[in-house]
Every structure is written in structure tokens, then in C-alpha cells.
Symmetry: C2
Subunit: 290 residues, 2 copies
């Protein structure tokens, strides 16, 4: 695995891969890698000859009240994990390399963002699409892999790639879970032992929602109510949202006759956890989104 910190160097390498007809898979991360990330890398390795991983904590996607400086970082550990996962190139630019001066170009996403997590994080996804546009130009991927745990991010990247005619194809990879169902997340380490026990309730509540779909329920508000009730049974912490929307459009619907997402967020003491299931109207789980 080669570690690259300069844009020009990476761009030259990926251009050479293109010239040699090598397919490039790309996993963009903010580091502090866990099994969710390595699942993306594994998916990429199965479909592409070259795996490029980037680690860049992007200041543009942090709000003023969000703690960019305190975001967890462990470069040496990340390097070992990426190497073990089979990355060919690991891109580790610093902030000055990615943003050498204030950009004259602003990108904004105007749909799919005023719901779920986007509602409480204005501008967050604008920062996401801006850094991804830059990274896609540098890496020139054939396919790019994102975790379905961050389902709204997947919906946003889907809009970016289609509306702007990028060559890259988006692959949404299923959420990796602990044995009790808790979705893997860098934030899980911030849970107290009691909170960790409660946290498995997120997945259980989602499974309640799936059960209703399997039984033929097609009224979103019935399902939202039941999932919320199931969640409240397992935790006293603040439920940020429980929602059922079309996916990837993320629109409220009155009747379930298309692909949907049930998404929830709970605020624990030091960690806000999110989880979701993306399903057909009949309750069948969507295993891969593309």
C-alpha cells in the first residue's frame, strides 16, 4: 500500500490506472476506521482492480457548533487497517492540501437534506458534496462505496452523481452490526455500559417496523408510531427522530408502495446514534443500493 499526501501525485497515479484500463474502487472516509469501513473496502475489492481509500476529516462539513478539532483521529492505526484491508493507495491529505485558499466555488444540495439528520445540521451535506466532488476528480473512481448506515449521505451522493453526470457509480453497502444488532460506529465507544445495553434497542425497534411491513401494513404513521413506542420502551434518552420516508428521495409518503427507509436517531449522553432499514414495501431488506 502506498501512502500519498499530495493531490498531484494521486491524480497522476489514477490517470495511469485509467490508461491501463484498471477499474478503480474508492472508499472516502474521515478515518478512525472500523468494520463498517473495512466492509466498504472489501466490497470494492470484489468489483475493482484498484482500491483507493481516503482519510480526510473535512472541516467544511462540520457546523460552527460541531467539534471538528475533537473528531477522533488515529492515523497509525488507520494505516494498518487500510493496509490489511487491501488498499492499494491511501490518500492522507492535510487541510491545506485540500483547501489551499478559500474556494471561489460553492456547492449546495437543495433536496433530500431538510429531513432526518440534515434538518439539525444545516450546511453539513453541502460540505460533503463539495469535498466528494474534489475527491472524485482526484481519484477518478469507477465505483464509490458508502455505508447504508449513513443512508441520507447515500441519498445525497446519489443526487450528486446523477445530477452532475459523474462517471462513478455509487454502491451502498449494508450496515455492519454487533452480534446484538447495534450498528458499528466510531461513536459507540462513547456509550456508558448502561447506554450500550440500551443501544441495542435501536435495531430492535427497526425490526418491529419491518415486522409490520411483512404483515402487510402500508400506513407510514402506524409504523412510525409502533417503532417510536418500541424505542421508548428501551431507552429514557431523547429520541431525535423516528421517520419513514421514500428512499432515496426522502419524501414523506401517505401510503407505502415504493422503496422506503425507516430511520431513527437517539441522543445518548456523549453520542448521538442513528440507524435505519431500507426496505421494499413488502418488508424485504434492500441489501445493496446502486
Amino acid at each position: 500500500m502506498k501512502i500519498i499526501r499530495k493531490i498531484d501525485e494521486l491524480q497522476n497515479k489514477t490517470t495511469a490506472f485509467k490508461h491501463n484500463k484498471k477499474t478503480i474502487g474508492f472508499v472516502a472516509t474521515m478515518g478512525y476506521l472500523h468494520e463498517g469501513h473495512t466492509a466498504l473496502m472489501e466490497a470494492s475489492r470484489q468489483e475493482n482492480e484498484i482500491l483507493v481509500v481516503s482519510i480526510f476529516v473535512n472541516p467544511l462539513q462540520f457546523g460552527p457548533a460541531e467539534d471538528f478539532d475533537a473528531y477522533p483521529r488515529d492515523e497509525q492505526r488507520d494505516i494498518r487497517i487500510a493496509e490489511k484491508a487491501g488498499a492499494d493507495l491511501l490518500f492522507l491529505p492535510d487541510v491545506n492540501e485540500m483547501y489551499p485558499s478559500e474556494s471561489m466555488i460553492e456547492m449546495k444540495i437543495t433536496d433530500r437534506v431538510n429531513v432526518l439528520c440534515g434538518r439539525s445540521r444545516p450546511g453539513h451535506f453541502d460540505g460533503v458534496i463539495t469535498v466528494l466532488t474534489k475527491l472524485f476528480h482526484i481519484v477518478q473512481p469507477d465505483r464509490t462505496y458508502f455505508g447504508l448506515k449513513d443512508a441520507q449521505q447515500v441519498a445525497v451522493v446519489d443526487a450528486l452523481l446523477h445530477n452532475m453526470n459523474f462517471q462513478a457509480k455509487l454502491i451502498g453497502v449494508p450496515t455492519v452490526r454487533e452480534s446484538d444488532g447495534l450498528a458499528k460506529s466510531s461513536r459507540n465507544v462513547r456509550l456508558s455500559p448502561e447506554e450500550r445495553e440500551e443501544a441495542k434497542g435501536l435495531y430492535q425497534a427497526l425490526i418491529q417496523g419491518q415486522k409490520l411491513l411483512l404483515e402487510g401494513e402500508s400506513n407510514p404513521s402506524v409504523i412510525i408510531k409502533e417503532v417510536g413506542a418500541a424505542l421508548r420502551k428501551t431507552t429514557t434518552h431523547e429520541i431525535d427522530y423516528v421517520d419513514l420516508l421514500s428512499f432515496p428521495d426522502l419524501k414523506e409518503i401517505n401510503y407505502i408502495d415504493e422503496q422506503i427507509i425507516i430511520a431513527i436517531a437517539v441522543k445518548f449522553q456523549d453520542a448521538r446514534l442513528i440507524d435505519n432499514l431500507i426496505m421494499e414495501p413488502n418488508g424485504r431488506i434492500i441489501m445493496q443500493f446502486n
Copy 2:
């Protein structure tokens, strides 16, 4: 020359060129081709193996008061000109192909636009960078050619390519002129015989500005005043602006010690004409910007 109207078809072709290590030169136009455009195509042919030309009258860069529908179009004539100029692929998408639905992604340029023509065309360059981002993703050029007559557009594309880390290199190509110095433009046909005679005064006024630089003048306001006076001697029509700015930053300066542009715009009855000279502080004309 192959005429292509579908994005997927063009994207497949340009990807195949990449795989075969062919360099791609790209000339983006709004059609109604003239010698200015063919000069771009010729420059591209000298440096690249493949020439892709696009013709697309982009609704996004027309303001509400600007007449998108009345923009001159002559597809059959353009096809003949592009073929004669040696285009390999001519991309002729319709509006639905480029914008099949309202885009969820907005792009905005925040600098280099509140001067010269940009000042009176709010949003114009946002539309330009949006369509160019899409076209660059579709065409995947190694080099892209723009005429220095639209100098502000060159400055904007320069910002877009650098800030967003596009692979493509920008080449600014010198303005093509009539024998009396008038810059070639699709709009020249709208001039009355009297206006056409007056119109050569634009270039003559610019040459006055160059003469002062050659003589060692380094005060922008002296040059702006002289160029304005020279222009007023030749026309009774409204002078939209006479300006001297750094290039490509397009900033006002107090002292000329860097590359600059002298730019002018005059409103004739049915055509607003622009022209400029880009020069070193010593008056030497910049023949190619990249």
C-alpha cells in the same frame, strides 16, 4: 465526425479514448460557430488526438430578462463548420438530456464575478460553471479551450478547474479579429453599417491603453481615463464599462506590477460588444493563457 445527442453514448466513447491513452481536447460552445470557435478547435487539434465539440445553448446561464429563445441557432451550418474544423465527436444534447429534472445540486462562484460583464448578469457564471462541470464529467477532457475574448469566462473556468481539482487544463486562446481589429462575434451581424464602422473603435481604444503601458505608464486610472476618452471619440453609444483589473483575479489594483486586463463593453442598438487585451505590466500581449 460522429454526431452524438445522448450523454451515455458520449461518456462511453470518451472512456474508451481514455483506455486507449488518447488525449482529448474539448471545445464547449453555444453554437452559431464562427472563426473564434474554429480557432479553439484548431488549437485543440494541435495538442490533442481527439477533438470533442459541444453545442448546447444552456438555459441556466440566461437571466430572466435575457432572451434564451432568441439566441441564434443554426444546427446544420454548425455541423458543417465543426466537421470541416476536424471535430471527431460533436455533442448536440437537447435541454431534457442535460437537465432531465430540476437539479438538486447548485453551484455558485463567489469571486471574479462582481466586475465587468458579471456585474450586470447576476447568476450568469453560476449557470456557466454548472453546465461546464456536467460537460467536463461527460467529455473527460485533458485540455479545454476557451476564447480570451470572453476573458471573464476564462477567469471563472480557471477558478472552477483549480478549486475543484479537475484533471482538465484550461487553455485561453487569443481573440480572432476582423482586418480592422473588430473582435469576431456572433453578435456582429446585428450591427447597422454605421455601427459596424464605429465598432472598430473598441480595439483602437484598447491599443491606446497598450501604448500607455509600452510607454511605462503604471497608474490604472490614467489608462482607464485615456481608453475611455478614445472610445468616446469613436462612438455615441453607451459605454457599459472601461476597466483595468489584475488577471485572472479580476481585482482592482492601484499600481500595475502584474498581469492585467483592459476590458471594455459598448451597448449598440441590438448588440452589446465586448473586447479586451490581457498584458504584462510592460504592455506585452499575453498570447495564450494557461
